[in-house]
Structures are given as C-alpha cells and as structure tokens.
C-alpha cells in the first residue's frame, strides 16, 4: 500500500511537470525561419568547414540571414547543392568548380629514401619535429598519414610511402591541406590538365641528391609554355590552372619527371 502512495506521488508530480512544460512550449514557442532546415537539407552534412562557417548548420543559418552571401561556398556539395539552395532561397546559384586535393610529391620509395629509421609516433607532425621529417627531402610527403586520418570521406591512402588522393571520392574540403605539416597537399581544380608533383624549394643539385623525381628548377617547362601558365619560382615550377590549356609540351620537355599529365588534350604524353 505504501509503495502505491509513493508511486502515485511521484507520478502526479511528474505529470504536473509534463503538463506545465508542454503548455509552456506551446505558448512560448520560438518561430524558427523555416528556410533554415530546408537549406540545411541541401547541404551534404560533412561539417568540413570549407565554406568558412562552423559546420553545415552555421552556413545554413548564415545563408538565410545574409541575403548577399554566396550560395556556392559548399565545396563538397558542389553545383547540385548550390543549385538546390538557390532554389530554396530564390537566388542565382553561380558555378562551383569541383576541387580536389593534390599531394604535390612524387617521392615514392623508389625515387627517394629515408634518412633515419623512424620508430616514433605514427604521425607526420611528430616526425616533422625530428630533424624535419623522416625522408631525405624535407619538403616532401612524410607518408605517415596525418592527412588520411583527418579526411572526412576516406579519400586518402598511403601507397608506397606516399599519400595518394582518390579524386573520385575527394570532396575538396581542404582539411588535409591544413593538416599536412609540410604543406605538401594543395587544392586544385578537378579538371586541371596537369600538375607539378613536387614541393621542393631546394636548388636543383640538392633536390637531385635527395630524390630522383623532384623538380630541379631547370625552367625548361617555363620556356616551352606558350600560354605562360608555368612559372618557376624558388626552384620550383608552379602552374596557373586558369592559363594552362593542356597542350602537354611542358611534360615532353621535363627532365625530372615531376610534371604529371592528368588531362592532356593535344599531345599523347607518356610521363617517364
């Protein structure tokens, strides 16, 4: 009998609280702009932060509040997300160029080697603290996979001592580029014709000594580029993707083999 009273007392108190709360939530409900969840639906939900806001929710809220904010900031969502957000908010979507990460290093186990037998923490950031990394080249990929760990979609794998990006999976959020202690990873347009897979700013002889695939800064590519897309600064070639028309001439003349063809239009090129 006594337990009945106890149960009844707690039950009645709980019921009163429940009624009070439900009445309060009815009468004091805050109206949330219904477009926010709709915009949020259009976003992929990777919460990568590539848009510059704190996750997808933050971007959705900012989009609804600020009418001048571009709707195409979401890199993972790409053009489809931008188009559907534009539809919800009634704005022009604009173009989103799909971007992917590129590991700018060709230093495979064959091309270069290590200068120490590293037995420490399995982390590039930790290895970097020890004499600038495990490899002979201090600019190249350390290959311990900090980027692979941080990748939200699992697009990066370590292969032959080198991080490699699966461009069909990569969403171009840039988290790996921020994580890499050597800044080897860069974000490039997915439809780039070619890339420079080297990050070494050493002089030619120094690069040669540590790696057989590195850019030696010979400027042959720069001289042979008819659009002026390639420039060599600090002993390293770099490409202006907007200018490059994919003729493939530079790859033909490159002695080092650090230029890699992706999508060459005019010449059949086999990279050595």
């Amino acid at each position: 009998m006594e337990i009945g009273i106890a149960v009844a007392v707690v039950g009645v108190i709980g019921l009163l609280c429940a009624v009070m709360l439900s009445v309060a939530s009815k009468f004091m409900a805050v109206e949330v702009d219904e477009r926010i969840p709709m915009v949020r639906e259009c976003l992929p939900g990777a919460n990568c932060g590539a848009c510059g806001f704190a996750g997808c929710d933050g971007y959705a809220a900012a989009l609804v509040e600020d009418p001048d904010l571009a709707v195409n900031l979401c890199v993972p969502g790409g053009a489809t997300a931008a188009a559907s957000i534009g539809k919800v908010l009634g704005r022009e979507a604009g173009d989103v160029a799909k971007q992917v990460a590129e590991v700018r290093c060709s230093g495979t186990c064959e091309a270069t080697s290590v200068k120490m037998d590293y037995k420490g923490l399995e982390s590039c950031a930790a290895a970097k603290l020890l004499f600038g990394g495990t490899g002979k080249c201090v600019y190249g990929c350390i290959g311990l996979g900090d980027c692979a760990q941080v990748c939200p979609v699992g697009a990066i794998h370590i292969n032959g001592g080198l991080a490699r990006v699966d461009t069909s999976v990569c969403i171009g959020c840039g988290l790996c580029a921020k994580t890499c202690p050597n800044h080897v990873i860069a974000i490039r347009p997915a439809d780039a014709h070619m890339v420079v897979d080297c990050n070494s700013h050493q002089k030619g002889a120094g690069t040669r000594k540590s790696c057989s695939a590195g850019c030696i800064g010979c400027k042959l590519c720069e001289k042979n580029c008819h659009t002026g897309a390639i420039t060599v600064t600090d002993n390293l070639a770099s490409i202006d993707y907007a200018k490059c028309d994919g003729c493939g001439k530079c790859i033909e003349v490159c002695k080092a083999g650090c230029l890699v063809a992706l999508n060459i239009t005019k010449a059949e090129v086999v990279n050595g």
């Binding site: 009273i5 106890a6 007392v9 108190i13 709980g14 609280c17 009070m20 709360l21 004091m28």
Partner: protein
Amino acid sequence: MKELVAIVMAAILVNNYVLSQFLGICPFLGVSKKLDQAAGMSVAVIFVMLLATAVTYPIQFFVLNPNGLGYLQTIVFILVIAALVQLVEIILKKYIPALHASLGVYLPLITTNCAVLGVCISNVDNYLTATGGFAGGFVQAMFNSLGSGLGFLLAMVLFSGVRSRVDKCKCPECFKGMPITLISAAIVSVSFMGFAGIVENLLG
C-alpha cells in the same frame, strides 16, 4: 533579521557551494572564461536555486513528510528541478534570446547541477525543523538559496578574473589550459578557507 543576514553571509562566504563544498564545479570551470558569460550563468543559477527551493521546500513539507515519503526527496527534487530548468530555458529562448545563445549548452547543465540539488536538500535538512512552522523555515530556506546563489556568483566572477589574468601570463607548456585552471581554482578555494568562523564571530 540578524539571523537571516547571518544565513546569507554564511552561505556566501563560509559554506560557499563552489569553493568550500565543491558542488557545481562543471559550470565553474566551463563558463568562467569570460566575465559576462560567468555573470549570466550565475544569474541563471541564482534564479533556478530560488525557484527550486520555492517549489521543493513546500513539496517536502506538505507532500513528502506527512506521507512518510522523505526518502523520495532525491528523485522528486531531480524531477522538479529538471522540469523547472526546461521551463527557464523555454522562457529565456522566447524573451532573452541573447542570454540563451550565450549560455548555450550550460543552461541544460543546471538541470543536473549538484549545487542546485545540494541547496534544496540542505535547505530541507537544516530549516525544515526550524521554529516558526512552515513560514519561518521557508523564509530561512529562501534566504539560504539566495546566499548560495550569490556565493556562486561571487565564485564565478572572482574566478573569471583570476582566469583572465592567468591566461595572459606565461605559464609552462605542460600546465597550459585546464591544468593551470584547476591549480588556480584550488588556490582560490584555499583562500575561502580563511572565512571559516568569521560569520559567527561577526554576527553571533
């Protein structure tokens, strides 16, 4: 009157819930980074403490004790306090959205805040048998809650000041962040030991 002043002073200085009884440490460490947030959180705690006492004390006096259900105190108090905090959150969201946004995750933390529950239980333990029946004990309990809430405010404001000074100092790498915060909290709490016995001698 003198008695009530003594209760408030004792709750603020001698029995400070955070620094002497070590209850409510999570908001103490979590929200004390910035002064405005610390003050806002403390005001919310004072409000919830007063409200919780105002509700739980009559429940104990009129419902639980007459039925011999004093042992249900903890579960009933948690239920009531949780519902109250939810209510406060709904009200804040509606009428003071800025405060609601700045309190963020910490307002729901008050739901399970041991300081609030501790105040309610110590009120019931200490003042329920006080002379003057329901009203006398109730007034004392309310003043004790007020003092406890003010004590929480004092601890939060003091500590946010300490923390902002500590943040600007160079401290050894291994102590940066939470370790130095815990050490400073310990030192601040040691300083409150100095208040032991001051109220009895001042007003007693």
